[in-house]
């Protein structure tokens, strides 16, 4: 199969890139995404604040609508296995394996979360440690609880939003821990998520060690200034310690002129709107060619 423009990822950036490229005149566009629905990670972001005050799924629906009147092709539940220097991608789905050759490609694959193993946290590896995004998926898509007594490491937007979500599900959020001197997400989120629900922020500290066999029993928290350490009992630790642009698929390619990165795989954006705007402008530019 051939296409002018292959877009990998149907999140905010990928969908916006497709619409932009279509508007600019490109008539042969294919989007591939591993999920079953359009919108990428927006699906699990059920809080408001997207594109004004929409929820993530609402914003995903809005972006999907703008695609409706275009002739952009979609391949959902499709994994892109590889992309080669000769402009050929291999796509896998239950329908089969196929090669797609393309003229231009936009990678809009979002980001991944920094896992526990990448953090300087020692000790046991008990159950009850999740990334913030995993916790969001559990609560918002699977109706599961990550735990009862929850500590959150990292006070970026994701950490604070997940803290509120745990609180609203009736869980005890012991604190949000932050290495920096204060929260690192947006002030709006601090007020809405933390202050409103009286969730404590503990700045200037970090988790150094996990304890527990089977299930997490508690963590050692170190004050970075004084170096003093304290054991905090908890059954759940959520890691909101950073997002890494997901560029694995193209890491071997260098910087060929046909490859364009849009959204969080390019750099981590604070707002989905900003990722969408970047996608759209790249789409508009490429679509003209």
């Amino acid at each position: 199969m051939e296409t002018d423009l292959l877009i990998i990822g149907a999140g905010a950036a990928g969908l916006s890139a497709a619409v932009g490229a279509w508007e600019a005149g490109c008539r042969d566009i294919l989007i591939a995404d591993r999920r079953a629905h359009l919108g990428g990670v927006l699906e699990q972001c059920i809080h408001t604040g997207f594109h004004g005050d929409l929820t993530g799924p609402e914003y995903a629906a809005l972006l999907s609508c703008s695609l409706r009147d275009t002739g952009v092709s979609l391949q959902l539940e499709t994994e892109v296995l590889s992309v080669s220097q000769s402009r050929e991608a291999v796509l896998s789905s239950r329908k089969g394996l196929e090669r797609v050759t393309f003229s231009q490609m936009i990678l809009a694959s979002g980001c991944r979360e920094r896992p526990l193993g990448a953090l300087d946290i020692t000790g046991a590896r008990p159950a009850g440690v999740y990334t913030a995004g995993e916790a969001q998926e559990m609560m918002n898509l699977r109706n599961e609880d990550p735990g009862e007594n929850i500590l959150i490491l990292g006070s970026g937007d994701l950490g604070m939003i997940v803290a509120r979500r745990c609180f609203l599900r009736g869980k005890r959020v012991i604190a949000v821990l932050e290495q920096a001197e204060t929260y690192t997400g947006m002030a709006k989120n601090y007020h809405r998520c933390m202050e409103t629900h009286a969730i404590p922020l503990r700045a200037g500290c970090t988790v150094t060690e996990l304890h527990g066999e089977g299930r997490l029993r508690g963590v050692t928290v170190r004050e970075l200034d004084s170096g003093s350490e304290e054991f905090i009992p908890c059954d759940t630790l959520l890691l909101a310690t950073g997002l890494i642009p997901e560029q694995t698929l193209v890491s071997h390619l260098g910087n060929p002129p046909w490859l364009h990165l849009a959204g969080n795989c390019n750099r981590v954006h604070d707002l989905a709107d900003s990722a969408a705007a970047e996608g759209r402008s790249i789409g508009l530019e490429i679509g003209k060619k």
Binding site: R34, E77, E79, L81, V90, S92, S93, R94, K95, G96, L97, R99, R112, E113, P115, L116, G117, A118, D120, T122, G123, A124, R125, Y130, T131, G133, E134, E137, M138, R142, E144, T208, E209, L210, E213, T248, S251
Partner: protein, 457 residues
């Protein structure tokens, strides 16, 4: 009460390979594993090296077994369908003490019959492995050294044993052993077995298990070691196994694993559980910076600790050889087998199985089938083969673990093969081992495990 000719206590590498080899004879065999899965104790974590055989004194069982096991490792891994990388090892020294160690190992290796060993000067060494620090002065090159995934190997051996009729009981910690009319009664928490002979492969608990029935000639001192695992995309990973022999203190091993990651470690310290320590990890990091200065430790995706049993005589002196005790005519104990236990696991299993078959005077099992077929993994196939696989089994088209390219069909196969936890799935098909460490697929795998468990009920 279930009756077997032989009961193997412990389903680590040694237990799995002992069971496999017992089935070469006409011996009904069961493995009793205390935990939820095989290879979850000592075997769940080690340096993953298949040693060439120059580390041990000429004339010892360890030296002879290691050299012959290394020679046979390609055949073993082909039989068991386990990936094996014979990448070769480079032992490097930066000063006179290290050089003396290398020269001694070189002489040992030559006497032991290790093929193609070479001492390399600085320039030759750096030409072969440019990632090494330019401070190196001498290298010992062993092209026959290799690496294998310890769980993959142990699980394959157990599956092969099972396909040849061996039974496996999990969650079955042995609580008592008593002599009974020439054989034994073995009790676990839930069941009682009778058998004609016992092979104790209980690893960390091997002395405790022997002491359920007999005194032990040795005690185990348990030590721990910390390791780092780096992303498969990390640059400046060495192409060979690198073993650094420092001027003082403990060295470092760096292994380019069969999965494509870089494994660094271990530290050595007291410890009785699998928790990592800061000092241990810092030790590994600091030696890595010294030996492989270009390696970017920010690419670390996982840290873990391993446990090692160190057999000691009652006076506290350490024992270097494999301890295979036979406190009674029909009772064998592997007491504190450590490095190179993985390299020699099949050979050690065969050694004891042969003695046991002799003691019970049984015949060879003519139906023994040494070949085991592992789970087909789409990622190992070329385009056409993978396309055909998906056409036959559409669930191979759906990738669940995107970092390691593991499909839904493979997860199902892992569960069918006995995985009851995400870790069990990881050990069978590699899901969650990649750079996101399962943050994008663990929940899905947990749901699949629950679904399968539901079907079973």
């Amino acid at each position: 009460m279930k009756r077997y000719d032989a009961i193997v206590i412990g389903g680590g590498l040694l237990g799995c390979f002992t069971a496999r080899n017992l089935r070469r004879w006409d011996l009904s065999t069961a493995v009793l594993e205390a935990r939820e899965d095989v290879c979850t104790g000592i075997s769940r974590a080690n340096t993953a090296v298949v040693y060439p055989g120059y580390d041990h004194k000429p004339g010892t069982l360890k030296a002879a077994l290691t050299v012959s096991a290394n020679r046979d490792f390609d055949v073993l891994c082909r039989e068991l369908d386990v990936p094996f990388s014979r990448c070769g090892s480079l032992m490097a020294a930066c000063g006179p003490k290290g050089e003396a160690v290398l020269r001694r190992k070189f002489r040992n290796g030559q006497e032991n019959g290790v093929p193609d060993l070479q001492l390399l000067g600085r320039d030759e060494l750096l030409a072969l492995e440019p990632e090494l620090t330019p401070d190196v002065t001498l290298g010992l090159y062993a092209p026959t050294a290799g690496t294998v995934n310890p769980w993959a190997l142990g699980i394959a051996a157990m599956e092969n044993a099972a396909q040849n009729g061996a039974a496996l009981d999990r969650n079955a910690p042995v609580t008592s052993i008593t002599e009974d009319s020439g054989g034994y009664i073995v009790e676990t928490e839930n069941e009682t077995f009778s058998c004609r002979a016992i092979v104790n492969c209980a690893g960390l608990r091997s002395v405790a298990v022997q002491e359920l029935c007999y005194p032990s000639p040795v005690q185990l001192r348990i030590t721990a070691g910390d390791y780092l695992v780096l992303d498969s995309l990390t640059s400046h990973s060495p192409k060979h196994i690198v073993q650094f022999e420092p001027e003082q203190g403990k060295g470092l091993t760096a292994v380019p694993t069969v999965e494509g990651n870089l494994l660094l470690g271990p530290s050595e310290r007291p410890g009785v559980d699998f928790g990592t320590t800061r000092d241990g990890l810092d030790f590994v990091r600091s030696l890595t910076r010294q030996v492989l200065p270009q390696v970017d430790l920010n690419d670390t995706i996982r840290t873990f600790a391993a446990l090692r049993p160190n057999p000691e005589r009652p006076d506290g002196s350490s024992i270097r050889s494999f301890v295979i005790d036979r406190p009674a005519e029909r009772f064998w104990s592997f007491l504190g087998v450590k490095t190179p236990g993985m390299t020699c696991a099949d050979a050690l299993g065969l050694h004891v199985a042969r003695e046991l078959a002799g003691a019970l005077q049984v015949n060879k099992n003519p139906a023994f089938q040494p070949v085991r077929n592992g789970i087909v993994q789409a990622r190992n196939l070329d385009f056409e083969a993978r396309r055909r696989l998906i056409a036959e089994t559409p669930e191979h088209g759906e990738v669940v673990c995107c970092c390691e390219d593991v499909t839904l069909a493979e997860i199902h196969a892992a569960i069918k093969a006995g995985a009851t936890t995400v870790d069990g799935v990881k050990r069978r098909v590699g899901a969650t081992m990649g750079r996101c460490q399962g943050s994008r697929c663990r929940l899905k795998i947990e749901a699949l495990l629950r679904e399968e468990a539901g079907h079973g009920n």
